[in-house]
Structure formats: structure tokens, C-alpha cells
Amino acid sequence: MKLVWQNPLTLIGFIIITSILLLAAIAPLIAPYDPNAINVKAILLAPSQLHLMGTDGLGRDVFSRMLYGARISLMVGFVAVGIATLIGIVLGAIAGFYRGWVDTLIMRTVDVMLSIPTFFLILAVIAFLSPSIWNIMIVIGLTSWMGVTRLVRAEFLSLRNREFVLAAQALGAKDFRLIFGHLLPNSLTPIIVSSILGIASAVLVESGLSFLGLGVQAPQASWGNILTDGKEYIQFAWWLSLFPGLAILLTVLGYNLLGDGLRDAYNPRSNQH
């Protein structure tokens, strides 16, 4: 673990992520206003002591919306990646462990899924389910499990014939125990790294969906829809795009630095210097 923190970038990533998580967690305590409180008399006010990040087109306090938006944006990332990772582990484990026709079936399904643009899948599912927060998380999750599946399968393939696995098998361990007791724990690091990087992508996907008007629904705030609102005012109300843009930037950066740092730290070869 000590190794990880030797890289200042990883530390920076960790600090960014924990502070954003902390801010999101205590949002109700520090938000000066109700994030959805409308005040038509105070629209598009520039940042001031009263409104740290100004107000938006309906006079809502941007700072409060950013704090509550953090909860939504981060939750979208976590849940979506959780779903994708779960599906990926199950399918990848089955494919990598049993091989044969199951493997072929699963991997060809992965190929099919990768051949259909994610955006099309998302759009079709959202058109059918309508874009609520939960649906967005589910959709992003259901359309991004392919990478994890490939990863887990590859890990399993390489671990499958290692001595400790063969030994356990010789001692009569059941498939279930082999998978969850031996193979999976030994593949955990790359899975965690890919999940951390996945969260970063999910945050970006959410902001892209908001740009297309398919993101989190009004009046609920997410960084993506605050930023998209701000786009129209970019020449006038700069605070509406600067703060959410910066928040997305920092979060995605933080997750990437952290994920990359972890990967480096656990990749033995890169550390022989």
C-alpha cells in the first residue's frame, strides 16, 4: 500500500475524490439554499457572497445545485459501474473458467454488443423507459459491461493453469469455490482499477446524455445538466458553465489519477526502477 502513495498524482487523485465524496455526503449541511428553490427575481446573478457560484436561469443557487448535483453525478457513476462490473464478472468468469462453447457464446455476444453503438442502445432504452436517474444508471451499466467481461476472462484464462489453482482442483475444490475462492480474488486488482476508470467514463457519459437532453430530469440537478444549461449562456453567465465543467473535470481527473496510480503500483514490472 505504501507504494501507491509514493506517486504524488495518485495522492492528488485520492484527495480530489475523497473531498468530492465528502462534499456530496454533507451537501444538506453546507448547502446554503434549497437546490430547487426558484426565485424569478434573482435570475442569472453573478457569483457574490450571497450566491457563491451565482444563480441560474430560474434564480436557483448554483452552489447548492452543484452540491446536490455531485450526489447524483457520483451515484450515476457508482451504480452504473457496479452493474457493469457485476455482469462483467459473472459472464467473464463463466467464459474464462468453462471455456468451450459457453466461452464462444459469451465472447461473440460481447462482439455483437461492441458492434452496436452504445449511444444507440442508450437512446432506444431511454426512449422506452424514459430518462429517470435510475434508468440512466441501469442503461449506462447495461451498455458498458463488455470491457470487464473481456478483462475477467483474460485474467481467468491466465490464472486457470497456475499451480495454486490446479492444486486446489486436485484437492477436490468445487467450481464455485475455485472461482470465488481462488480465481476471483487473484483478479481483483485489475477489476478494481477498471471500475475506477469506469466511474470516470460514466460521469462523462452522463454529461454527454445531458447535452443531448437525455440526462437526469428537471428539476433534479446533475453536473451534466447544469453544464448543458450553462452552454446557452456561455458568453454571458460564465459561472453556469465554469463550475460544473470544472467539477466534471476534477472528478474525472481524480478517478483517472487514482486508477492509473493503483494500476502502476500493482504492476510489478513497472516498479523495478
Partner: protein, 557 residues
């Protein structure tokens, strides 16, 4: 307020963050200052020539309006094709291709007399045979047009001579003349042995109006040039270039950089950005006119409790329309009390919108049986909380409107959820099968007052336009009478009475009629201001660009 230099600093700050600071060592905004500053306000004689560039968000799918259907197509095709009739600047019908027309005593037959010596842009004569051909096409079952139904009411159409076109209706049809003002006449000689649905003509049109299409780069622009054989005389501006720029923010950047001459503005750009940017206002004129549409919240009258008029009125009282106009439209709109454009003959001047009166709303809800029995702030009836969902499509202004309504209704104890949908799902999944509580939408105001399709009780089938299922025998009777009454004064009384019933029934809450806002570069002269009833666009052919202000086209030196 953010001045240009502040924006520069803001952007440069970010560029520094991104590590591209090396480039930003240059001057801020001095290049712009070096440009010549002509005095656009000086008087100029009319001149022929020049190019006017505007921007649109969508590309026409073709230029045969009856088939293309979308607004981008109508906007361009309207410069290329003529109709028999048109609306003048006071919104009165007048002849376009027709010199005159008569309505028979039994009000069933209309005879149009075409102007003499009309020509297509390819110099072939335009005659009543072309009009008859167009009518045959629009009513043909194999033509993929959704607009045929009005013309199928014509029981007989004939062209007794080259200058005369006559249509006979089975029963008098008051909106008939309006429909002929909306049908672009197509050239028979080019289309008679073509499949109109996928003919190349749609992309190489030949019309009779001021302009002809000279270039169409897919996804980039359409360029129109003056038609020397135009039926209505000559327009002043030589070329109209319509650039396709899907993103409104990018359009505004192009306008700021003087790369386009005109675009439609949103209220923020009009009311906030322009006043804070004297450098823009110096070169660009702003125009505002009452638009041809209104926004409303409509109830699904088949669902409880919206079948109760007291509930609908209560909600109407509980919504602060002025707040929506101020908040969403930044004051750039007017309240409406009838489905007709305020200030026109059809709009009943004695009607007033429901005032914002939450107490009256609460009283009406109590009367309708709603009370907050469990003290959670939400009203209940028969143990069920009053909670419903507002549906709307992806439209920033409608979304904001819904949020404002949500807040006001909460204050009288009604819980509202909002759902925003992409258009095709909105229509296909919710409106057609009538799976909704309430919608926030807009209707365009046609110039003819007939709104049979929207309000008549017979028009409720899935896919028809009375999707809120409004049904009132009195209103039905008036709508039927209005369709066969050709006398404008009598017709006006009918629709005034109809509007009054509609307002009392409150099947929809009228929210506002927004202004159409446009920015046009000051090099373009001859624009009527203030805008007449028909809007600034009524005389675009009279607009001109003084020679001194022609754009420099890039050329090989």
C-alpha cells in the same frame, strides 16, 4: 456583468490550465478593434445585389413542402414557390398567383383567376393546369403527404381555361381560402411523369417565386439566387444563403463574429446578452414580434380528477402566468386567454386570463372534495393524495415552465412530477394512447380560426389532435358553425363565443404567447419596424443591402 475582456480572461485562464498558455500571449481583442466601423444608421438608397446569410438548426429533407413537412423546408420552399393566395402585412388574404377570386352564392364554389403571363423559373408558362395538377397530387393516395385531408373536401376541381381554376366543395368550407394560401403550386411539365415522393425535383426545384435554388451542399448550406422571371417582381437581395448550424450557441458565436447576418434569438440572448454588449448592438438590429404560437398546460380530461371543471379551474388559478412570462421568457411574451393571436380579429378582447389567486384555488379544491387529511402538505381525496405527472418534450423553455408550475401547485397542496421526453416517444408512447395526466406543450396559431381538429369531440381517436379529449356539445356546435360560415363578422362572433366557453371550461391552462425574437445585421435595410401584424418577414423581397456593405467573398487574388 461580463464584458468581452473578462470573457477573454476567463478563457485564457482555462487555456493556461490546459497547458496551452503559450498561444495566449497574444493581444486580447485588438484584431476586432482594427476592423472598420461603418455607420450603418446613415440613409442609403435601395440597391440590387448582395448576399444575406442566415442560420437554421435543421436541414430541409426536400423542397416540396407538402411532402417534406418540417419548418426548415417550408421556410426555404416559401422563397421558391408561390401559392394562389397569401396573407398581406395586416394578415388579410390577398392574391399571389391569383389576381382575383370569387365565391359563389351558395358558398360552395371558388373561382380563381390567375395573373397574366406567369412564368416558371425555366421560362415555361405557368397556367391553371399546374394548379389543377398540384391539387391532384396533394389528394392522390400515393402521395406521401399528411396534408391531403383539407383538399379532399373539394368534390370537383377544374381548369376551364389557362387563367381560371375552379374548385367546388360538397358543403361550404370556411377555411378553404386559407388552405389555398398554404399550398405551393408545382410545375406540371417537370413533375407529371415523376414519382413525386422521391423525385430529384425535391432537390432541384423550379418554382415561380423570388428565388431559385442555386446550390445545396448537404448538411452545410442552401444557396438561393434571384429568379429573373419571378411572378411577383424582383427581390432586392441577390443571394440568400441559409447555413445549417444545429447548435444555437454556435450560431450565436457566428453572429458575433459577423459570419451570419441573421438568426432567431432566445430570450436570454435578446434581453441579457445584447444589452450588455454594445459592440454587438452597434452592428446588429434586434426585432421582436408576437409569435404565432402559445404554450399551454393541457389535462387528460379522461382521467380523474381532471374531469372536474373545479379542479381544472383551481389549477388555473394556482399557476402564476406572469411569473412564467418573466422567468422563462424574461418578460418577452404576453398572457393569452383564447387560442387566437392577441390583437387579431379572432381573439376575443373581453376575455381575461385566470388571475393568480392561490386562495381561490384552495377553495375550489376544497369544494371538489380535496383536503389535507394527514397533514403532509399534500391534498387527498378518498385517501388518495393529489399527485400527477406533467409530460413535456425536450425543450428548455417548456421544462422551465413545468418546474415553475410544479412549485406553484405544491403551494396549494398538489404534488407534481415532471417527465421530459424525446419527441417520438412522447407522441408514440404517451399522447397517442392517452397515457398521461397533463402536458406542457405549444400550439401554433393558424391564421384561419378553425380549430375543429383540436377541440371538437369527434377528434379524439388515437393520433388525432384532441388528445386531451375535450368534449362540450356547445363548443362542438360553434366549431361546426364556424366551418361553414364565410362571412367574417359572423364568423368572428362564433369564435368569440367559442373562446369564452373554452376559457370557462379550462381544459387547458393558457400559459403565454412568446415573442418571436430575431437579430439581423444592420447592413440589411428596408425592414419594417415596428413589425406589422404579419411580422417583419412579410416584405423580405424589399429588404436590401447597400453596395458599400456587401460581404467580401473570399476569392483568389
Amino acid at each position: 456583468m461580463l464584458m468581452p475582456t473578462q470573457i477573454t480572461r476567463y478563457i485564457q485562464l482555462w487555456l493556461i490550465v490546459f497547458g496551452i498558455c503559450a498561444m495566449s500571449a497574444c493581444s486580447n481583442g485588438e484584431d476586432a478593434a482594427k476592423k472598420l466601423k461603418p455607420n450603418y444608421d446613415a440613409p442609403h438608397p435601395t440597391s440590387l445585389g448582395g448576399t444575406m446569410i442566415d442560420a437554421m438548426t435543421g436541414e430541409p429533407s426536400g423542397l416540396i413542402a407538402m411532402i417534406a413537412g418540417e419548418s426548415a423546408a417550408s421556410a426555404i420552399a416559401g422563397n421558391i414557390f408561390n401559392s394562389l393566395l397569401k396573407y398581406d402585412k395586416n394578415l388579410e388574404l390577398t392574391g399571389e398567383l391569383a389576381q382575383s377570386w370569387e365565391v359563389s352564392a351558395d358558398q360552395r364554389t371558388i373561382t380563381f383567376h390567375l395573373k397574366p403571363n406567369l412564368k416558371w423559373a425555366d421560362q415555361r408558362p405557368l397556367s391553371s393546369a399546374d394548379v389543377l395538377f398540384t391539387w391532384q397530387k396533394v389528394t392522390d393516395d400515393n402521395t406521401r403527404t399528411p396534408y391531403g385531408s383539407d383538399f379532399k373536401l373539394v368534390s370537383k376541381a377544374e381548369a376551364p381555361d389557362a387563367q381560371t381554376f375552379r374548385v367546388t366543395y360538397a358543403v361550404p368550407y370556411a377555411p378553404a381560402l386559407d388552405t389555398w394560401a398554404g399550398l405551393h403550386i408545382l410545375p406540371k411539365h417537370l413533375l407529371q411523369d415523376q414519382d413525386i415522393n422521391n423525385t430529384a425535383f425535391a432537390r432541384h426545384p423550379v418554382g415561380s417565386h423570388y428565388y431559385k435554388l442555386s446550390d445545396w451542399k448537404n448538411g452545410q448550406y442552401l444557396k438561393l439566387s434571384r429568379n429573373p422571371y419571378a411572378s411577383q417582381g424582383q427581390a432586392n437581395i441577390e443571394h440568400l444563403l441559409s447555413r445549417i448550424i444545429p447548435d444555437k450557441a454556435a450560431q450565436f458565436l457566428e453572429l458575433s463574429a459577423d459570419n451570419i447576418d441573421s438568426m432567431a434569438l432566445n430570450p436570454i440572448q435578446y434581453a441579457r446578452i445584447f444589452p450588455s454588449r454594445p459592440d454587438l448592438s452597434k452592428n446588429i438590429g434586434l426585432y421582436k414580434e408576437l409569435g404565432n404560437s402559445y404554450s399551454y398546460m393541457g389535462f387528460n380530461l379522461k382521467r380523474k380528477p381532471f374531469d372536474d371543471v373545479r379542479v381544472r379551474q383551481a389549477i388555473n388559478y394556482a399557476i402564476d402566468k406572469q411569473e412564467i412570462i418573466d422567468g422563462v421568457l424574461l418578460g418577452l411574451g404576453e398572457p393569452v386567454a383564447s387560442p387566437y393571436k392577441p390583437g387579431t380579429r379572432w381573439s376575443n378582447p373581453s376575455l381575461q386570463p385566470y388571475p393568480y389567486d392561490p386562495n381561490k384555488a384552495r377553495a375550489l379544491l376544497r369544494e371538489a372534495g380535496f383536503s389535507d387529511t394527514n397533514g403532509d402538505g399534500i391534498l387527498e381525496k378518498d385517501g388518495k393524495p393529489f399527485s400527477f405527472e406533467i409530460l413535456t418534450n425536450q425543450n428548455k423553455e417548456r421544462e422551465m415552465t413545468a418546474v415553475l408550475i410544479q412549485r406553484r401547485l405544491k403551494e396549494v397542496g398538489i404534488e407534481v412530477n415532471i417527465r421530459v421526453l424525446e419527441w417520438a416517444s412522447f407522441l408514440g408512447r404517451f399522447i397517442k394512447p392517452k397515457q398521461f395526466d397533463a402536458v406542457v406543450l405549444g400550439w401554433s396559431l393558424s391564421l384561419d380560426p378553425d380549430q375543429y381538429g383540436i377541440w371538437h369531440s369527434s377528434q379524439q381517436a388515437p393520433g388525432q389532435f384532441n388528445f386531451i379529449s375535450y368534449s362540450n356539445p356547445q363548443a362542438d356546435k360553434l366549431l361546426e358553425a364556424g366551418r361553414i360560415e364565410l362571412n367574417p363578422d359572423k364568423r368572428m362572433k362564433i369564435y368569440h363565443a367559442f373562446s369564452k366557453i373554452l376559457l370557462e371550461d379550462s381544459p387547458v391552462v393558457y400559459l403565454s404567447a412568446g415573442y418571436g425574437l430575431s437579430a439581423i445585421h444592420k447592413r440589411v435595410k428596408g425592414i419594417s419596424s415596428p413589425a406589422p401584424a404579419a411580422g417583419i418577414g412579410h416584405n423580405t423581397y424589399e429588404w436590401f443591402i447597400p453596395k458599400a456593405y456587401y460581404r467580401n467573398e473570399i476569392n483568389d487574388q
